[in-house]
Amino acid sequence: MTWSLFWSNLANAVSLGSLYSLVAIGYTMVYGILRLVNFAHADLLMVAAYAAFYGVLVFRLPFAISVLLAIVLTAGVGVLIERRAYRPLRDSPRITAMISAIGVSFLLENLGLVLFTGRPKSFPVPGFLGASTDIAGIRVTNITFVIVFVTAILLLLLLYVIHKTKTGIAMRALARDFDTARLMGVDVDSVISLTFAIGSALAAVGGIMWALKFPQINPLMGMMPGLKCFIAAVFGGIGNVVGAVIGGFLLGVAEIMLVAFLPSVSGYRDAFAFIILIATLLFRPTGLLGEKIGEKV
């Protein structure tokens, strides 16, 4: 492999990885606080992409406004899902909430298939985002810069919220010890609602970025990215926001390099991601950056 090919692959890997990172943050936030594998998170990507699609093409809104509305709407859907499907189960075993998440994911997908039809639609991409730029002879699409930039901004913002605001402290308290936090006067319900709102808004941004980078949307578009980004979150250390970003980048790089160096096994690319997942769970369940979570007896 020539160096220029390698750099080109690396640029694409960073581009894909940053997208994984963006979505993985949302997973990790919900998991960190509720210890819930939110399968429905993946489908929120789809909800956001369709909301933006209809905003632009049906309601003829400017792109920026429909994106904003889509984010708000998705955050609302996320909060609603938490309130209706997860909150009643908060005192049940954790697995029950996960089953509910699987059910909600099923419901969103089937609803999407009826409302939007299964036919993939073309997502409107503003002209300048579709173009690409030359950097030292390597072509990088403009959307890559946007994704990296957005991921960085959101990461900083999130770190600020988690570490410097009162709500953030409450979130971390909940993540560490649910019952004690409750006893200390943390308003559990509103903190969790806020977590879901933020997590779902992140999913919305992720979904719209996904649709901008890969401009075909369909009701099942969230499934694969959902699994991949979840793997990225586990790899980075689930519950850890910085870990999710690093995990996303590394997964993106690993996937692209696997195909680049071993093209004959390209059919096993997804299996490779799952092998990373299993290896992480077995040998370093806390992931790259995760803290050790004591098993409560």
Partner: protein, 380 residues
């Protein structure tokens, strides 16, 4: 409260179910069943086909002076559901013929059931050769993969002067895997060199990043890249290729033929060529013109190959019923099997001894944001 609402909902459903059961007993109608994936991962294909079938039913609602009634069953892109749907159509709806299904696997699940019950079934777009093998009751209005693969290989070799090619396919999609294999065989036969296929690269349904495959492909410097697969994936792949300044021509199959292919791909798909079933611009297809006009009027969008094939499957069955003179499954089967030079939207259809359509393919190319007719390729 919620429990009560829930219970009430179920009661309403039950009542509706009973009422709907009563409404169906109408004499003097000919029942045709349709099983297509309306939900699940292949929902897109099933929904497109169903649009075409409905349109055909609206244009030609009667045969032998009787009303033709369609019964649609969703097969959920699931083999079990496909088998259930077909059994239900046969046992409960008493259909005399069946149309379906998008997805060769789903059609194969229905195969033994229609054969056992001796109900003629016409597939719209299952292109896998196995669908009709050893099954005298299964037919199809599309050509099969071996022919389509050959068509594109010839086009690449003769018209594009290609001597080397790279294949990128969806390893999960039987259509893509099959078609790629036939393209490979035909292309190797034409060039006479086994190494004329420089690489066979794969991805999985749902993958959207093809940059690594494209970089590898570009590194081999092929004359063409053959990438059969879903139109959305292919359009995104070509987009990524053009963004990476890979200017190699892309070739594909009939799944590409949807307006969204051009919408998603934009300028990137300019010049991409594909083989498909029909073109409104091709000479001498009156049926195609009727179809395209009616489709635009009813759905307010451009038609695609699957709708056209659905339309043809319906018309073919109607034609067979007409020729048989009665709406009995066995008579319809024999009439379908004897189909010769049926003028459909997607071309002139003659069914061979396997029940496969022996018909021409057309090659289209994207030019100025439109599919432009290049040439018609006749079967051998």
């Amino acid at each position: 409260m919620l429990k009560r609402t829930f219970g009430f909902g179920i009661a309403v459903l039950l009542v509706l179910a009973m009422l709907s059961g009563c409404g169906q007993k109408e004499a003097k109608e000919i029942r045709i069943g349709v099983f297509e994936p309306m939900t699940g991962s292949s929902a897109a294909g099933g929904q497109m086909t169903w649009e075409g079938i409905q349109l055909a039913n609206e244009l030609y609602p009667e045969v032998l002076g009787k009303k033709v009634v369609l019964y649609l069953e969703d097969n959920k892109t699931d083999k079990n559901e496909a088998a259930n749907a077909v059994t239900r159509l046969i046992e409960q709806k008493k259909v005399v013929a069946i149309i379906g299904s998008y997805g060769s696997g789903l059609s194969m699940a229905a195969g033994p059931i229609v054969m056992k019950n001796k109900i003629p079934t016409v597939g719209c777009s299952p292109t896998n050769p196995l669908v009709t093998v050893d099954n005298p009751y299964y037919f199809r209005v599309c050509f099969i993969d071996p022919f389509q693969g050959k068509v594109m290989a010839k086009y690449a070799y003769n018209d594009l002067n290609a001597r080397t090619a790279v294949i990128i396919r969806d390893v999960q999609d039987p259509y893509a895997v099959g078609l790629a294999q036939y393209f490979k065989e035909a292309f190797i036969a034409l060039t006479g060199k086994t190494d004329s296929i420089l690489a066979e690269l794969e991805y999985n349904t749902g993958d959207q990043d093809f940059t690594a495959q494209l970089n590898t492909a570009a590194g081999k410097k092929p004359d063409v890249i053959f990438a059969p697969g879903a139109y959305g994936d292919a359009a995104i792949m070509i987009r990524q290729a053009r963004q990476m300044k890979i200017n190699c021509p892309f070739l594909g199959g009939d799944t590409w033929e949807a307006p969204e292919f051009i919408q998603i791909g934009g300028e990137a798909v300019e010049g991409a060529a594909l083989s498909t079933h029909y073109s409104a611009q091709a000479p001498g297809t009156e049926a195609a013109k009727t179809f395209v006009e009616a489709y635009r009027k009813k759905y307010n969008k451009e038609p695609n190959a699957f709708a056209a094939l659905g339309f043809d499957a319906y018309c073919l069955i109607l034609d067979a019923i007409n020729r048989a003179g009665k709406a009995e499954p066995q008579a319809i089967r024999d009439a379908i099997a004897a189909t010769k030079n049926f003028k459909g939207v997607t071309g002139t259809i003659t069914l061979d001894e396997n029940g496969d359509a022996n018909k021409s393919a057309v090659i289209l190319q994207v030019k100025d944001g439109k599919f432009v007719y290049l040439t018609t390729v006749e079967p051998d």
